[in-house]
């Protein structure tokens, strides 16, 4: 969205980095919206599986993802109530503003 900067201080990702072993991990993000946090997670993680039930949100997240991070991120149109992954797949999961 134009004309808005969200968390330029990076408070959110800093807090997550303090509490979670994100570096080099494969991370599940449930409810990624337009991918604001996904992009920051992808900067530190090995891989991010990001999902949201809203196809428009996922389309926007895909558009906004920088090319340098594209290999790290997979977006899925899916609900948190039915995760398209096998058991024991992730060391870390994140619900940011989505629960």
């Amino acid at each position: 969205m134009k004309g808005v900067r969200r968390d330029p201080e990076r408070s959110e990702i800093r807090a997550l980095l303090r509490r979670l072993p994100l570096a080099g991990a494969r991370i599940l993000e449930v409810g990624c919206g337009d991918g604001r946090l996904t992009r920051r997670l992808a900067g530190v993680a090995r891989a991010v599986e990001a999902l949201d039930p809203d196809p428009e949100g996922i389309a926007q997240a895909r558009r906004l993802l920088p090319a340098r991070l594209a290999a790290k991120v997979q977006f899925h149109v899916a609900s948190g109530e039915r995760l398209p992954f096998g058991g024991g797949s992730f060391p870390v999961a994140i619900t940011s503003w989505s629960l």
């Binding site: 134009k2 408070s11 509490r19 979670l20 599940l28 024991g88 797949s89 992730f90 060391p91 999961a93």
Partner: protein
């Protein structure tokens, strides 16, 4: 997402986590926003220009139903032993808007809160001089749940 859906999502996340996996639950926490006593306050609004921030007002939230349902869902999975609470903390989250239209467009997209008329008028006066930004300060709560 309704309460039962949230509980189900938490159980699904539990399923896909490794045996020592962690879940971060990050959400707005109005109860602890500094300087605020009212539960219906979503964020503090100020105007920032040349490094100075002037308090302008507050942003009121219309409905707490989703947040209360999320709190209940988390309490339920903790009670059931699906997860244990490893830590909880709060953190500031700031938005910077170029102008009032940008702020109102964004809030409209969230569909939960509005800038009240007196606050809007104060912002209009402050924004007559260029070079400033509208700042929204929201407090988030980060719960870390351990499988």
């Amino acid at each position: 997402m309704a309460h039962e859906g949230m509980v189900h999502a938490l159980r699904e996340i539990h399923r896909v986590l490794t045996p020592v996996g962690l879940l971060a639950d990050l959400r707005p926490d109005r109860r602890l926003t500094p300087g605020m006593r009212r539960r219906d306050v979503l964020a503090r609004i100020s105007y920032r220009r040349e490094g100075r921030e002037v308090p302008v007002g507050v942003l009121e939230e219309g409905s707490f139903a989703d947040d209360e349902a999320a709190d209940r869902a988390v309490r339920r999975v903790l009670r059931e032993g699906t997860f244990t609470l490893a830590s909880t903390e709060t953190l500031p989250f700031r938005y910077y808007f170029r102008d009032l239209d940008s702020a109102e467009d964004y809030l409209e997209s969230r569909n939960t809160a509005n800038i009240d008329t007196p606050t809007r008028r104060r912002l209009e006066v402050l924004a007559r001089r260029p070079g400033g930004e509208i700042v929204l300060l929201e407090t988030l709560r980060l719960n870390i749940l351990r499988k």
